[in-house]
């Protein structure tokens, strides 16, 4: 329920998102959500030797969507693509110190965009 307020970590990431911004020279990008439905996330990757060297995001969405995006990039940064592919929405929620029940779907936004970006990268480089 909404009355379960956001964790401090969520608020902190919302107010000072890590890795926010676009990346014109990205190696790949991935999307999730639909702006017509109120949330949309794009994740940009810079990959070197199968490792996510740099990562950025642009998001249109609610508090949870912003925090999720920020946390997803934090968790993915420095990981190998294989490791990053194993990141689940639960991992993200946990790292955020939990999300209100009606916001849990937002964590899927992060996982999906990240997976999409990695798959796009792999498709391009194979």
């Amino acid at each position: 329920m909404w009355c379960e307020t956001f964790s401090d970590t969520v608020i902190e990431h919302f107010m000072a998102p890590r890795n926010a911004g676009s990346m014109p020279d990205a190696d790949a990008e991935g999307n999730s959500g639909d702006p017509d439905c109120g949330d949309s996330l794009t994740i940009y990757l810079k990959v070197k030797d199968h490792v996510i060297e740099d990562i950025r995001f642009m998001v249109f969405g609610c508090v949870a969507a912003v925090a999720t995006s920020s946390m997803t990039t934090e968790l993915a940064k420095g990981k190998t693509l294989d490791e990053a592919l194993k990141l689940t929405d639960q991992d993200i929620v946990e790292a955020l110190g939990g999300l209100p029940e009606n916001k849990l779907h937002c964590s899927v936004l992060g996982e999906s965009a990240l997976k999409d970006a990695i798959q796009n990268y792999l498709a391009k480089t194979e």
């Binding site: 919302f14 107010m15 017509d36 642009m58 508090v63 009606n102």
Partner: protein, 391 residues
């Protein structure tokens, strides 16, 4: 302490001092049940009837036309369903609008499921219905026209008196959801030809949990809740004496100061609108002239509404996005859709609603904070193509 600015008065208001003062005796020593015969019961009953007189006199009605309810939603449900029940042998067609509150739309949906037919009038880009469209929609079997006096999301005021005239000409019951209007703009039940009217105390400085339905004398409306026979047998249940007394006091207080309050609020609101429209790609929604004095409603392209509300909240500003009631989900606003806002853009709405408690400093604070909130959110927005500077 951080400054707090409450700019969500269309969602609910602070209990006004006169209302609280009027309520206190009934929350302490005067606790009798209005149905009881003894002194304490009679005192409570007197308080109730005084409140009915006050309410009636503000509305230009007689006391017998006022029925107390638990709020605006109950009054709306009652009006719509009871009018359908009352008229079902005459016809089963109802006319309403696409921008009503859910307290009207959802009961209408129930009626549709029961075989009633509802025409939802569209509105123009400002949120006004067309009288011609209304006239065209009227049929032989039309039994009810229900139109809100003023919209809660965009503040647009409907031409109620003209609608009332049309309804009267065709002998159709006319209900008005005046939850946002009562205590905010003058509304004369008699000259507007209104047959039923809903109001909610907490929108004009009264308590939550009290409302009323005005029902013109001579309309024998079916009862809403059955039991001990309170409210002339139409709405049973031990009366919320303190709440009702508070509602009447708030209404009387507001009404007596309507002119000066409106003037003050209009000045504040206009300064707010002027200031915020300087933000690039900001857009006012609703009608600039036919508009509730307190409501400033916007679209800020590229920014999602809830994140705006939350970032403003973290700066001490209480605002809302879309209607308060629908903002828990990711549903897009039916009102913005009706005025032709594309779906994506409709997620970018922000409503600031002021009342006479607000100050010049409140407006200053909003004007200081909001542009940078919009800028920060746009800076990371994938759907924003404009400048990413800080305003």
């Amino acid at each position: 302490m951080k400054k707090r600015v409450y700019a969500d008065n269309a969602a609910t208001t602070r209990l006004s001092r006169p209302a609280l003062d009027a309520m206190m005796p009934y929350l302490t020593s005067e606790y009798g049940n209005p149905s009881a015969l003894h002194t304490m019961g009679r005192e409570a009953k007197l308080a109730l009837e005084r409140a009915r007189n006050q309410t009636a006199s503000v509305l230009g009605a007689v006391p017998e036309e006022i029925y107390f309810t638990s709020g605006g939603t109950e009054a709306d449900n009652w009006a719509v369903k009871a009018a359908a029940e009352l008229g079902k042998n005459k016809g089963r067609h109802i006319i309403s609008t696409q921008i009503e509150h859910h307290a009207i739309l959802n009961p209408l949906l129930c009626l549709e499921a029961q075989g009633f037919e509802v025409t939802y009038l569209g509105v123009d880009a400002q949120g006004r219905i067309s009288l011609k469209a209304l006239r065209d929609a009227i049929r032989k079997d039309t039994i009810l026209i229900s139109v809100m006096a003023a919209n809660n999301e965009i503040g647009t005021i409907q031409p109620i008196a003209k609608i009332g005239k049309l309804a009267k000409e065709h002998k159709i019951l006319f209900h008005v959801d005046a939850v946002q209007a009562i205590g905010h703009i003058p509304l004369d039940i008699q000259s507007a030809g209104i047959d039923m009217l809903s109001l909610a105390a907490h929108k004009f400085g009264g308590p939550k949990g009290a409302g009323a339905l005005y029902v013109r004398k001579g309309i024998s409306l079916p009862s809403q809740i059955q039991g001990g026979g309170q409210e002339r047998n139409l709405r049973s249940g031990t009366e919320n004496v303190a709440g009702i007394v508070g509602m009447a006091a708030a209404l009387e207080y507001r009404n007596a100061r309507m002119g000066s309050h409106m003037e003050k609020v209009l000045l504040l609101r206009n300064r707010l609108i002027e200031g915020l429209l300087r933000i690039p790609n900001a857009r006012l929604t609703g009608d600039l002239l036919n508009r509730l004095p307190g409501i400033a409603s916007f679209l800020f392209e590229g920014v999602e509404g809830e994140s705006m509300v939350m970032m403003l909240d973290l700066h001490g500003i209480c605002a809302s996005s879309g209607s308060a009631c629908a903002s828990n989900g990711h549903e897009s606003s039916h009102v913005l859709k009706a005025i032709g806002i594309p779906r994506q853009l409709s997620h970018s709405s922000l409503r600031l609603s002021l009342n006479e408690d607000n100050t010049d400093e409140d407006v200053d604070h909003i004007l200081e904070v909001l542009p940078s909130v919009v800028a920060r959110l746009r800076a990371m927005s994938p759907v924003w193509n404009g400048s990413r500077e800080n305003y």
